[in-house]
Subunit: 247 residues, 2 copies
DNA sequence: GTCCATGATTTGTCCAGACAAATTATTCTT
DNA sequence: AAGAATAATTTGTCTGGACAAATCATGGAC
C-alpha cells in the first residue's frame, strides 16, 4: 500500500512528509488534534521509526506540528504558510522601505502557478506570473538580499521599465496599474538556503537565511507577491572555495 | 576519555555539541575549515554515528556549521550570536519603534550574568543586571510578544517608574542616565519556544518563535540589551487543553 | 598540461532493535 | 468521592549495522 516509485529518487521520509501534509491540509487531522503515534505511522507506511521521525522532524521544523514527550504529536497549523506575520497599513510605509534599497535585476521569466505556489502567494492555480530575480547589494558590492518578485501577468509590459529603476518599484507598479494598495502582509521564516539562493548570495548551501514573503493587495486582489532571502553576511566557505588566497 | 557523568541527565549528543562549540570558539576549528568527519568524531567521543549526527544537526540548526554530502562539515561561524544582523543609526529610529508599542510589565528581578549570557548581551561576567519581563498585547488582549529587558544595575532605581509608561522607555532610560545611544544592533533568530516563553505567550512548547536580541550601545558601553520573543498567533493547543468548550 | 575515468572519502538514507523519560489512563486505597 | 500509587502509552535517546549518493583525490590517456 502506497508504494509509489521503486527507484525512489526522493527519500522515503519526504513521501511520508508530503502524505501527512496532504492529510493535514484536507482536514483529516484538524488543527489542535493529535497525529497518529509514531508506531502507528510505522505500520501505516511500512517503514522504521527512524523514517517516520525524520518526516515528523521536518513537519516540526516547518511549524506544522509540535511534539511532546509522552503526550504525542499535535497539529499546529494546516499549511506552512509562514511563521511570522506582520502587516503594513499605508503605502508610505512600503515606499519608504523600497526607496532606500537598491535592486539589481538578474533575470526575468514567466512561471505558471501550481496549486502550492498559488496558495502561498495568493494567486490562482494556472495563472501566469512574471518572475523577477533581483539582487540587493551593499555599497561595497557584497550581495545582501535576494529578491524574487512575482508580478501578475498584466504587469508584464510595465515591469521591465520600472524594474531598472532603483526607486520604489512596488508603489510604481501599483500606480501604473491605477490601483491602490489596500494592505500588505509580510511573513518571514528562517530557512536553510537552497542551492539557487545560495549561489546568488554567494554563501554556502544550507546556510541560515531569512525568507520574507510580502503580499501587496489591492481591492481587486493580490497585486504583488515577493520573496526576499536575507542572510547574515556569512560567506566564508565560498571565499575559501573560490580561493581568494591567490589575490 | 571525556566520559564525565555516569547518570547522564543531559543527553550524550548535548555534551558532544557543547564540546564542539567550545573547540570552535577556542579556534581549534577556525571558521571556514572542515570539522572532523562523523566517523572520526564517533571514535573520539566513543558513540554511535546517530549521536554524532544529532549533535551536528543542532550545530547546523544554530547556523554554526554547514554540511555538504561528500564534502564534509564546515565551520560557518565561531559563536551562535544570532543569525541575522541589522543596525540602527539614530535614536529616532529606535524611539519610533518603541513609541508605537505598548508594553506590560510582568515582573522585575535581578540577575548575575554568567559568562555565556554576558558574552551574548555584551556585558561582563559577574555584573548585576535588572531583568524586566514584559508582555506586548493586541487590542483584543492576546499576548503577541514577550520581552525580556536586561538593564544594567545603575538603572535599577529609574526603571520601575519608566517601565510603567507605554512611551519610549529605551530612549527614556538613556536620557535619564545622561547618555546618548550611539548605535544599536539587532539580531534575530528563529527558535522553538522554550517552556517559560511558551507559557507567557500562551502557545505550545516548541512552537516556532522569533527571538530578537537588541543591544543599545552608548559611548561608555552597552546600555540596554533585550530579548524579544515573537510568535505568529498560534495558540490552538493551549485553547484545546484548557478546555474552552465549556464556555 | 588537460581531460576523463576510477577509487576513496564523506554525508544521506534506512533498518531493527533497546531502554529511558514524560505523560496519560487506570486502579487501588482511604 | 478524592487522592495516591500503578500501569500503559508515547516520544527521547542510543546502538550497530548497511547501502546510496555526492564530492574529492588520484592517476592515466591524449
Amino acid at each position: 500500500m502506497t508504494i509509489p516509485t521503486h527507484g525512489a529518487r526522493t527519500p522515503r521520509y519526504a513521501e511520508i512528509n508530503a502524505a501527512l501534509r496532504e492529510d493535514i491540509a484536507s482536514g483529516c487531522y484538524p488543527v489542535g488534534e493529535l497525529l497518529p503515534s509514531e508506531a502507528e505511522l510505522c505500520r501505516r507506511f511500512n517503514v522504521s521509526r527512524f523514517t517516520v521521525r525524520e518526516a515528523l522532524r521536518r513537519l516540526q521544523l516547518d511549524g506544522m506540528v509540535a511534539k511532546v514527550q509522552g503526550a504525542g504529536t499535535r497539529v499546529l497549523r494546516d499549511a506552512p504558510t509562514g511563521v511570522f506575520v506582520q502587516s503594513y497599513r499605508s503605502v508610505s510605509e512600503l515606499t519608504q522601505y523600497a526607496a532606500e534599497t537598491h535592486l539589481e535585476i538578474i533575470k526575468t521569466e514567466k512561471t505558471i502557478l501550481d496549486s502550492d505556489m498559488a496558495n502561498r502567494i495568493g494567486g490562482q492555480s494556472g495563472e501566469v506570473w512574471l518572475l523577477l530575480s533581483c539582487l540587493r547589494r551593499t555599497d561595497s558590492g557584497d550581495p545582501l538580499a535576494f529578491v524574487e518578485c512575482f508580478i501578475p501577468d498584466h504587469f508584464a509590459e510595465i515591469a521591465p521599465d520600472l524594474a531598472r529603476d532603483s526607486g520604489p518599484i512596488y508603489a510604481g507598479l501599483a500606480s501604473a496599474a491605477g490601483e491602490a494598495i489596500e494592505h500588505a502582509v509580510q511573513e518571514s521564516q528562517a530557512l536553510p538556503a537552497p542551492r539557487h539562493i545560495a549561489d546568488a548570495l554567494e554563501i554556502a548551501e544550507g546556510a541560515p537565511t531569512l525568507r520574507i514573503l510580502r503580499r501587496y493587495v489591492s481591492a481587486s486582489g493580490p497585486l504583488i507577491s515577493s520573496f526576499n532571502w536575507h542572510h547574515g553576511g556569512d560567506r566564508y566557505i565560498h571565499r575559501t572555495r573560490i580561493g581568494l588566497a591567490e589575490d
